[in-house]
């Protein structure tokens, strides 16, 4: 599987004026879509100005790269839209794989129809975005995702082709964010004024130290000092991506992950929601975090994938039990099925409704399923007989694992796992298990 994705759009996305209305046409492409030129949505946006601002904020996330050279910005991945079940969801992931954003247009936010349901990439080109930024408060927007009838435009129609690198870590990061979302818990709810006050305490420029969100004297504030119940935010300058929408939002809800490995910030704007998730540090993406390592990706049977595809409907809440009943599969045999399916890009998580929804990322599964490098290394260690179990019981396991020129000691207790390797020494388990621990777990399972 090459690391390249070639976007092939029949026409570019366009915002045109037709009479008194703006027509926003989003061109779509998916490498796994077999249907001929589907149209996913056609209708009117009920909150056109706000929706336009949200899409612009999303494009800012997609265009941002917090740790990469500017020339790589030319190789941006387009956002992904999921249409179905009366909802439209636009998802974007930054190039550095550390910032995830989603715009949810709920049933009240549009008035239209969904001729086909599904998930696809959409072309967010500069001229279209420029035109979008010119949308005023009085405009009306008719949106179409994909075209109902592909009539020829004025002038020659040209296939828009764009090659971008699609590294496994980017896709895996995109997918694993959903797992983080599902584990996050709401900690703070702020109204618009409180949110604006909070963002006044955001330090200027790029910040290298961690900041913490605390409540002091009844007021939320960002502080460089940790305190009880503080939410740790690394790479806090990335929160500036929300500034565009803050004065327009009704509410800001903050969902930290229990281990503080990510934070999610959700803005409510009428029938729209804008979700922003940040990885632990600006220079760290989501994918290397080991969150999904525990879910063994490769143990999903093909039958399950087919079943999920067959019975699930875009944006529909995913119910594992129902599926098991339909397909006569013993759900107890498969541990943490939703987590694993999410890791494969088959499910998204709605933090508001607190459930997973079906959404298949428009990338070939083979890109997603490739083993996480640490899992791969762990498998190799087991296969090469480099794992020696010294002692094993329910409460405690002790093992020796051959490393490079050295032997590591791994100890698994009921409450913690330890290893003498450099990875564990540096991170003390905060970034997921090392390959030695994974190898030992694999061997004893």
């Amino acid at each position: 599987m090459t690391d390249l994705l070639t976007y092939q759009y029949h026409t570019p996305s366009l915002l045109t004026r037709s009479g008194t209305q703006e027509q926003l046409f989003l061109s779509q492409y998916s490498e796994i879509e077999k249907r001929e030129a589907p149209c996913y949505f056609q209708g009117r946006l009920q909150q056109p100005y706000l929706t336009a601002r949200c899409l612009l904020a999303l494009s800012n996330v997609v265009q941002s790269s917090f740790n990469l050279a500017p020339f790589q910005i030319a190789l941006l991945k387009d956002p992904v839209v999921t249409a179905g079940n009366e909802r439209l969801r636009f998802e974007g992931f930054s190039h550095c794989a550390g910032v995830y954003a989603r715009v949810d247009i709920m049933p009240g936010g549009h008035k239209g129809e969904f001729p086909e349901a599904g998930t696809t990439n959409v072309d967010f080109n500069q001229p279209m975005l420029s035109a979008l930024s010119g949308i005023g408060k009085k405009e009306e927007i008719v949106l179409s995702v994909g075209k109902k009838d592909l009539t020829l435009q004025k002038g020659a129609q040209k296939l828009i082709e764009r090659k971008v690198p699609l590294p496994a870590r980017w896709i895996k990061g995109f997918a694993s964010v959903q797992v983080y979302l599902s584990e996050a818990e709401r900690m703070h709810t702020l109204n618009r004024v409180q949110a604006l006050q909070l963002f006044q305490s955001l330090p200027k420029g790029v910040v290298k130290t961690d900041y913490y969100l605390t409540i002091r004297g009844g007021k939320p504030i960002f502080s460089p000092v940790k305190s009880i119940n503080a939410v740790c935010v690394g790479g806090i300058h990335r929160l500036r991506l929300l500034e565009l929408l803050l004065p327009l939002a009704d509410e800001l809800r903050i969902f930290p992950h229990p281990t503080m490995q990510s934070t999610t910030w959700q803005l409510y704007l009428g029938d729209l929601r804008f979700t922003l998730s940040l990885s632990r540090e600006a220079w760290r993406g989501f994918s290397g975090e080991g969150a999904v390592l525990e879910s063994l990706v490769e143990n999903i049977s093909d039958a399950w994938i087919e079943a999920v595809d067959k019975y699930s409907y875009a944006n529909q809440a995913f119910n594992a039990t129902m599926l098991a009943v339909e397909e006569d599969i013993d759900i107890r045999m498969v541990d943490n099925i939703t987590g694993r399916l999410a890791a494969m890009g088959l499910l998204g998580f709605d933090i508001d409704e607190n459930n997973f929804f079906y959404r298949r990322l428009p990338f070939k599964l083979s890109r997603v399923i490739s083993l996480h490098p640490r899992m791969k290394d762990a498998e190799k260690l087991v296969a090469e007989n480099k794992v020696e179990i010294i002692h094993h019981s329910d409460e405690r396991t002790e093992a020796r694992v051959e490393g490079s020129g050295v032997t590591h000691t791994v100890i698994l207790d009921t409450d913690k796992e330890r290893c003498t390797c450099t990875w564990y020494g540096k991170h003390q388990g905060e970034r997921g298990p090392c390959k030695h621990v994974l190898a030992v777990k694999k061997k004893i399972s």
Binding site: S130, G134, G136, Q197, G217, G403, T407, I411, Q428
Partner: protein, 951 residues
Amino acid sequence: MTPVEQFTQIVEQSEENKIIPFLATLSPQERKTLMPGFKKLFNHYFERIQEGNSFKARGNEAQISLLSAASFILNDRKEFEKTYSLYYIMRGDVLNSILSWYVPSWFSEYINGFLNNEVLPFGYDRLMALTEEGYVIPTPALVARALVPAIYEYIDREAHLTLKILEKRPVTLDEHIWLLFEYECGVNWADRYVRPKISENIEPNWLGVFKKCSDNGQISRERVLRSSLAASARNFTKPLCGWFADLVVLLKPTSQELLSLQQELLAVLSGPQSKPANMALGYLKEICADPAFDKVTFIQQAEVLLAGEVKSIHAATLGILEILAKSNRELQEQICIAVAQSFISPDASTQTKAARLIAKYGDTASAALKEKVSAFGTSLLTATKEIMMPWLQKEEQPSATEQIFSGVPGVRSVLNKDVEIPIVNDVEELIFLMSQAMDNNQHYHFEQILSGALRCHPRITSSHLRQMEPAMQRAIKVIQKGVTGNAGNLERYLAAFLIEYGLLLEEQFPGTGVFGKQRPPKIAAEKWQLYEHGKGAYDPHHQLAGLALLQIRNKEYLPLLSMPTHIGGWIDPVTLVKRMTEYYAASVFPTRIDLQIAIARVAFENAEAALALVGEGLPDEIRQLMLFLLDKDMEPQAPFTHPAVWMMAGLTKAPEKEYAAFAKFPYSQVARAYLTGYFEWMTYNEKYEAYGSFNHEKKEYDRVEAYRAALHINYPSSTNVGTKEYYGQRLLQYNPIDNAILLPEFMHNTNVWGFEKDVARILSLMPNHPDIILARTIGCMSSSMAPEVSEKKMVLEALSSVNMIKPGPSEMLHLFVATSMLHADTTCRALAAEIWIDRVQYGCIDSERIGAIIGTHEKIEWAPMKRFIELATGHMQKVSPLHNEALEKMITACLLQLPDKGIKDLKGLLELYREVLTNNGSSVEGVLTHQLRAWNEIVSLKKVVKTLTAG
């Protein structure tokens, strides 16, 4: 002759003009056969050889040219790009003569690929020629980029502005010129490296071109205005957006035009940059009184503008809203609700302006307006609150659970259970601790490993050795290759300890290796040392490591006396007394450095409990020493067999007191400040040699006498202190007065640069009085200007460490915190504020002193006062009643120091002061009468002084 032979002949005979016709005669298959020969020839003639003193290619000019042409024709894109031959074929007619019969399939894409190059190897004219011939289909972005420099031509090496190329083809002015608004192509700095001849009637850049062409009617003026406005609001870079705004201004749009463009102007307000928004607001003000003006949209947009941070935008927006409110009665409520958004701004003038507007046009009966205004309750400044009284609903008090800080000072304890340092009790724990030894994860790991080894050594068996391999390997790597990641210089000593310990283990368990495949290097005495001038502060840890090894060899398996019991380096004196009793029971005599550090680390809060334990288990002198240390009123009693230790006890217990009994110690010859860290300091205008202008005769910069505000610590003269030359600087050279070196004396010859990863640990050596190192850190902060990265990191780490260690109040601590509140870096300032907030809670910081220090700095305007004002407003205000009182004292003390003629931003400070006073229900102090009277004479301060004296 075969094609290959022909080709070779042409190359060898440098027949440049023959190569292209020759290759044109060949079929593609024949051209393929040339490849191996061609490659060989190419590499041969392009090889760089030495000729005399320089390097050049082997081939002559003609050969290079013709081989480049051949490269283009024969190679595929990848190979051609490797050869960098484009320059040779771009000249003259070479390229065209090839393209007329052979256009590579990759050619168009290749040309388009130049988009991101710094310099384009072709101009607009050339690109168009290639396009017209059908050789290239350029992307719009490339056309835009190529077009940018097309307005200059060079005559006699001078650049002149010209419209010739633009006028050459209709498509340029019809279509291509508009691409400049769509893509970031550098249109704003087309004249960056060009020095065009200035002519009277036209600006020699694209601004001038657009103006001229639109004036001439060559392009639509309306379209230029419309496109510029749209472009200024795009996601372009800040200078580019500003440039488009400048273009609009240059065209001087009339009111009529502005009215027709009002939607575009309104859209600019949503853009990311403030300069275009300010420009748009200026124009909107011109047309806002016109009946055709879209008031409703503007009012909706205004709310978003007022929520931003830029003051000038607030002022401009409020100005327009005022005009609208005056003549549109039916919109007054909507306007007032939008205006209320201004109350999020901490700026007094913005809030006052908004409040006055609402007071004039707002309806006191409007429930919606009341709700909106009340939502800003906590943001409203005093003056605003007074005006907004009729609209304020009852203020909600923060609930008890939200109050972290109560009004009463708490009791500080550094010996809390939750900050206890765990004891390493078994070998397994020790092994895992050793494997993270090189990561500097906690400040106490160094001592924890030493003590852990001492405690657990008797239980180590040969099977454990293999488990220690990873730790030993990492230690070897550190010694051989230096530290990486979070490790500091102290990790080198720890690595050396681990290696020596490993060798000891191998001695004990012969036949069992602990290092794995790699044998450790010989740790000679030199390897333990760092650069000489840096050694000082690292030496105590170095000695402790040596001591631990020695104790293990001597089978004295007792943990070090100085092993801290709590985070920050503190030792519970009860534990210390127990340890000492254990030592003497085992007939082990503590070493001087170990005992000194242990004494320096005693947390006196538990002294009474410890006193009760000081008993018969200790020899007389040691017993007396401990009683002296722990009983605050007790005087020292002879004998003083170990003067260093006694001195340390005195310095730890009461550094301000000079005990008569110690007068005969050698240390009394040392200027006392070097032992206590109680240095004097000064902020003053120091004379220095600044750089003037370049002197062409002398070929160097002239130096001129200038003054700068500087903060310096005064290192007093002392018999044992000299200076030494170090890379052009004079550094302090401290020589210990005696062989028995006192712990504080180690701190002096320390280079704080590169120190940031070790500062927490060094400070934790003397948590009661870390003043000496703080003084050296303040040395990094001599100037208030933006520091270098390493200095900023040093200050940041020192602040974090001080926050963790929580030393008691002292002049150096106050100086450090106060100065950090004025630091250029936001995070340093925020950290200093946090330290203050934490200390005020426990009543162990002198806010008045901090205020006085800030005032002393600001008397000569050492740093912008704005930094402190913003910090206090954002972080230090309204934390709790206790903090509010402390803040009031701080600002009062600061104001007392300031000169009669005032300083920059004094107004802001006085406004803040007024806020604080009103919040506390206090009135201005009598001590400030003189200052206020003097400042009342200054026009800009009159108003705010009046509000202070009236209240």
